[in-house]
Homo-oligomer: 223 residues x 2
DNA sequence: GCATGCATTAATGCATACATTAATTCGAAT
DNA sequence: ATTCGAATTAATGTATGCATTAATGCATGC
């Protein structure tokens, strides 16, 4: 439960900060003290501090003793680690969903997302393509029943979101990636767990290698 | 970074509470308000609350709006979910370590743990057996280089610790399990990633099935 | 007797004040 | 000029108090 916060202020602070971080509005490496964040957000330190601690647990903020809280910088090694885990866990999630033999209605979020990717690709609308891609991955997770898996992978997706956005316009047209999704969806529809797993793994391996190469070539990250 | 806390009080509260939960000193389902915990720990609500939030992120505490914080009850479904993920991730960790072709010195923590398991088994000393088993699993994790993987799996091991302790004396003599470790260690020593992965997977599958059966037969958990 | 609603009670959410501690700056001495 | 050290500054850690809000119990009416 990465986002299970209930109190208005804390929730507000958490939501706003997370949003601004993921949008690169608060850029990687941005640093400020608790009082500064509190001032920015128009509330006292208490809820802000709580939100910052949550974001630290999410891996989006790093709190260093006397240097304030800083937005986690993009790191090549972090991205490698994250994609390594995604490459292991997401295929298992896909297989688990396939095992459930879900009906078309259950799979609607996934087919919608896949449609969205194809349409956006046809229009060369990268932003909508990325959004649909994201919906697919998160939608798939939600269809399997292991809550901890959902939460953890969701956190990893959040942690790697900025890197994906930054590299979005450096990639070639994501034709292959879009096709991958269609095929994975078909395997899931057919209840073929093994094929879904294997296809998802290859999808993630390709995505990882692409992303890491881009980050490296363009010196976009620390480390 | 499950335990990255630095302030004396918060750290103290976190450490003490975590310890007492894992020792079943604060039993599953135990519930108290923040002021009560604060009183128990001899400090104000602030650091206690922070510690409780950390423990909630660790999955050991659940905070319900007006009902105080309660020690997460043991749940069969949670254990199933946890072991499902462990069965996926730990074998990958073992394979990753094998790939590193570590020397004997690096592997000393693992061989020590394995020795400890065998010795404890010979003496029928279940407590030390379990402790050595735990050292093996955590030691292996530390040898691979993906920090996020280490932290997440460590959390899962913590979350399942109480269930393991409770079922410890209901199991048959853990002969098979001890042998598994020896074999896994050998595969790692030989740098045979595939074999290490496969053996670890079978080890975890067996462990999961044993644990879940015991919990079910003895109605030890909620749900 | 039961249900509804209000009052009471207590916990949490949040703000603030104070204590502690570390970084930084400035000055003095070598 | 450089280095050491003390004083200042500012951030974090912690305590506390107040506001808010939900749960509980009681009373009242049906």
């Amino acid at each position: 439960m990465p986002s299970v916060i209930r109190s208005p202020r804390t929730e507000q602070a958490y939501g706003k900060l997370k949003w601004e971080i993921l949008q690169n509005h608060l850029p990687p490496g941005f640093q400020a003290s608790e009082p500064e964040f509190a001032l920015r957000l128009g509330m006292s330190r208490t809820p802000v501090r709580e939100a910052l601690l949550h974001l630290e647990a999410d891996g989006l903020i790093e709190m260093k003793p006397r240097h304030g809280a800083r937005v986690t910088p993009l790191s090549w090694n972090d991205m490698r680690d994250i994609y390594e885990i995604l490459t292991t866990l997401e295929p298992e999630a896909a297989a688990a969903v396939a095992e459930l033999k879900p009906d078309q209605k259950t799979l609607k979020p996934l087919s919608d997302a896949t449609d969205g990717m194809e349409k956006a690709l046809a229009k060369n609308d990268l932003d909508n393509w990325a959004a649909a891609d994201d919906r697919f991955h998160r939608g798939l997770l939600r269809l399997q029943n292991n809550r901890r898996l959902t939460d953890f992978v969701t956190r990893l997706l959040d942690q790697s979101h900025r890197a994906r956005m930054i590299t979005l316009r450096m990639r070639n047209r994501p034709t292959q990636s879009t096709e991958d999704h269609r095929i994975i969806l078909r395997h899931i529809e057919n209840g073929e767990a093994g094929k879904a797993r294997e296809m998802y793994r290859r999808h993630r391996e390709r995505a990882a290698s692409e992303l890491l190469t881009l980050l490296q070539n363009y010196r976009l990250t620390a480390l």
